[in-house]
Symmetry: C2
Subunit: 558 residues, 2 copies
């Protein structure tokens, strides 16, 4: 490999900027590319019918011979979820810590990709040399165990990617964010810090995960009801604390929800979670115990309509045959992700209506964030003392707030760069600047289709969702210039037809008039007939109903 002094390090964010979700960063030097994280996002409200959103990886596909490896910071969907889609075209070695690999493995099996994936286990503290780079994994705290940051040695200097992190000085597993190592690197000299921005608007210091344990102890100490706790399945430490509190108060543990069962299985077998012997019982055994001897751990803390908690709340859960009721206390150990507030409220409301006691974050400290607040971000930045600071992972407002924090700890404003999606950041030992824009954006996944739903399809879905549709079908004798049959009018999602016969009759009448008028003008061109039909019916319906259903004219060849 030819390396000259003049080459620059390129860092290209293909995700994680300007929106939550789908983190993917390209690090490139000469002929070597490594990828940091490869996540997916969830659709916005206006992406109707879309299941997932993954980053556009055209740039990677074009440069696939340069790609050496993917390095993962932790096992959350927004950092690993797009790997099954990437692996179909780009199959390179994947490096991650043990728990992250365990979670990834489950995901790969669902996609039948477990055999082709090249998985490599690393540990916090280990250094991996690949191409022009050496990657050191550094322990960080986050709402999932075994998370790491990466310090990447490159020919132009050391670049640090914080990943998602917080600083928990009383962590559940005893492993604190390795501030010492960040400080050591800082003393040696760090070229650039890419720092996450999720909580950059929030003052202070994120509380320790441990306070949730204290809250759980308080709850268990003061109730003799059955306690059901909903949380993120990936929050292994949270689940461990639920187990610990249950053990302390002599409760058995039952588990429901597909992802909760699968994570607990993975985490216990890998040694990240410990359940005392005989404590875990099956759902069917619950009836043998009194309410005050039981804890049920479940998914559904985001109010997801397919989740176990949702089904138990709305009595659709077959296995937990005991409905939740007056003998139950439910803890929602989570905060709604933006967009999920109403779903979570609906569950809380329904449970309260049934007489269930509900403890959620507004009424007790049963959740803490996994992301660093302002004081933690400043502390990390002050230890690392980077020459250049690049806020990442957040909307523009979070990145802007993070920039302000860096200024506070003394990074000159001209050394801070707010990145843009797909825009190359060029670094050398003395400068940072924006370079070339590469293809980037959102690829929508709908069912098996990856990228086949674009703006035209979405526009039609929005139109259909808004006011429904009216299909007008007729057969025309183009020689004679007259209507052979029809028009037949069918509607869906517009009005309830049985109660709108008069309106539908006026639509049929107008359709006939419209087509005849076009034919009488000597124009038998299908496109003119259709276009006039659309205009005439749209006008009629807007005047009568103030709605604009999609008009779908279909002319049959008979």
């Amino acid at each position: 490999m030819a390396k000259t002094k003049k080459q620059k390090l390129k860092v290209i964010p293909l995700g994680g900027i300007g929106e939550v979700g789908k983190n993917l960063t390209v690090v490139e030097y000469g002929d070597d590319i490594i990828i940091i994280d490869c996540g997916l996002g969830f659709p916005d409200d206006d992406m109707l019918g879309i299941d997932l959103v993954i980053p556009d990886v055209t740039y990677l596909e074009k440069n696939c011979e340069k790609i050496r490896a993917i390095f993962l910071t932790h096992g959350h969907e927004d950092h690993i979820g797009a790997i099954p889609y990437l692996l179909r075209t780009i199959n390179v070695p994947i490096y991650a810590t043990r728990l992250t690999l365990g979670i990834l493995q489950n995901k790969l099996e669902e996609h039948h990709l477990e055999k082709i994936a090249q998985l490599n286990c690393i540990k916090a503290g280990s250094v991996t040399k690949i191409g022009a780079f050496s990657l050191e994994a550094i322990r960080v705290n986050h709402s999932i165990a075994d998370s790491v940051a990466y310090a990447i040695g490159t020919p132009v200097g050391t670049v640090i990617f914080s990943g998602d992190f917080k600083i928990d000085v009383t962590p559940i597993d005893g492993e604190m964010t390795d501030l010492t190592r960040f400080g050591e690197l800082g003393k040696k000299g760090v070229l650039a810090l890419f720092c996450e921005s999720t909580n950059a608007e929030r003052q202070g210091f994120t509380p320790s995960e441990r306070i949730v344990g204290d809250s759980l102890d308080t709850i268990f100490a003061s109730t003799n009801k059955r306690v059901t706790i909903a949380t993120f399945s990936s929050n292994v430490h949270r689940v461990q604390q639920i187990i610990n509190a249950s053990e302390k108060f002599g409760r058995k543990i039952a588990v429901t929800g597909r992802s909760m069962i699968s994570v607990i299985k993975a985490a216990t077998s890998l040694g990240y979670m410990r359940i005392p012997d005989g404590m875990l019982i099956g759902l069917e055994e619950m009836k043998r115990y009194r309410p005050d001897q039981l804890t049920l751990i479940t998914t559904g803390s985001q109010g997801e309509p397919m989740s176990a908690l949702y089904r138990m709340t709305f009595s659709e859960h077959e296995r937990v045959k005991v409905n939740l009721g007056r003998d139950d206390l439910v803890v929602i150990s989570a905060t709604p992700i933006p967009g999920n507030e109403k779903l979570v409220s609906a569950i809380i409301n329904e449970l309260l209506r049934k007489g269930v006691e509900v403890v959620y974050n507004q009424v007790a400290d049963v959740h803490v964030s996994g992301h660093a607040c302002q004081e933690e971000i400043k502390l990390l930045t002050a230890l690392v003392k980077p020459r250049f600071f690049i806020p990442t992972h957040g909307e523009y407002k979070h990145l802007t707030s993070n920039k302000a924090l860096a200024v506070q700890v003394g990074i000159p404003e001209e050394n801070i760069l707010i990145p843009e999606i797909g825009k190359t950041i060029e670094l050398d030992s003395r400068s940072v600047k924006m370079g070339q824009q590469v293809p980037s954006g959102k690829i929508l996944v709908d069912g098996y289709g990856v990228g086949d739903v674009g703006s035209v399809v979405l526009r039609d879905r929005k139109h259909l969702a808004q006011d429904g549709l009216i299909a007008v079908v007729l057969a025309i004798d183009t020689e004679g210039g007259y209507i052979l049959s029809g028009p037949d009018v069918v509607s869906r999602g517009f009005v309830y037809v049985k109660e709108s016969e008069e309106l539908m009759e006026s639509v049929r009448l107008m359709a006939r008039q419209s087509v005849e008028r076009t034919l009488d003008s000597g124009n038998c061109d299908y496109n003119s007939i259709k276009s006039n039909l659309r205009d005439d019916l749209t006008k009629l319906l807007y005047n009568k109903t103030k709605r604009k259903p999609m008009i779908l004219p279909i002319i049959m060849d008979v």
Copy 2:
């Protein structure tokens, strides 16, 4: 009117319970009904294409000869917005304070109802006797001026409806919630307090509106940029504070946004707002002033895509030809209503991206709530000392939290009743209990249609929104049992057809096979043909795409 000792006071909430928006409470004694508030709600995410939600008033229509009047607590949409719909069938006198009537008048004019409405102006402190009732309006603070609660004298005792309130001891207009009057009524004996619950989950005391003024002063003192402030047009006191701060710092005021212009006009003409002479300028005059001489007041604090702020942000605003840019500071003086968070974030992100300085509630105290927090609710309850306590205006979780507050101030738990929508609350001097259920619920308004979009239409809209539709059209010779013409296949919102020709070809082929198979079985019944067609195509498409578009089979009579 025949009144016997045995009659009970009935209170029926037809809105405001279990959800935000659309407040409407029926108060009934013998042959007399009065209505407290008559508001509308906005659609949930799953009410596709719906513009507004109003309460079901079947009960009122059935008892229209008993209805004596509507009393309004304040001029917010969720308390007055359904009046134009109610007036079409039930035209009774409306009582409200002056500003509330002023805002209502605008709304009635939009619906061309201003001539038929019977409007009566009342003042805080005044008592109105109607039928079996006497209604005393009591001043309360809220995020709109001229708000009142009602103490209703009834044959069974005094019943108080708090309306929306907070306790602002340093109010902008000098008029504080009339705690003294509440206390006097409490000393005389109050049968029941119906108390709003919006902030019942929040600890402490809602800050005074005045702190927003302090924040504005600080902002103006430290910038020489043009300042644009977005807030709720109905928050007259907030707008007054913007005017005051602008005056102090020698800035002219310009106004944009239809509702902002209309409320400022109404409020100044009624004396609720004061703009110094010569201070208000037209948008076209702005170019004559330096940025530090200008304040622009605008709508759009909720990120509404049709609002002035949205259009200025995304450069679609024709009149403010100067785009917002590096010489601008924008203040979002509001908090997103649940569901609007992403819209507001999108505006903040775009403004920051353009180099605009943005001040919003996460970074400075530029908004306060208009609703009472826990300490205020407890204070009111302690002063009123009601025998019975009924939490209102909130989701079930808010009502439950409010109940807990009443317990704290000494109301026995058995004297607290959590209401349900449409369920009659029966009160006499010694008891409160649930009575009969009356028709109640949500009536959906879509364009001119009130109530004509029901569950079938919504289900179809959801289906169409999710995966689009495929229409299959064919003509059949039922005598001969063969296909005359077609099948023609048209799709919308499913896949981009130009890139899916193979798939569409397989749909056509399967459609032909399906119909021929049905016909071959000797079955020429249209319903069988359609039903088989739907099943066969759904299966094919789910296997190939994992999507389930709506299949619309249309058979033509030729």
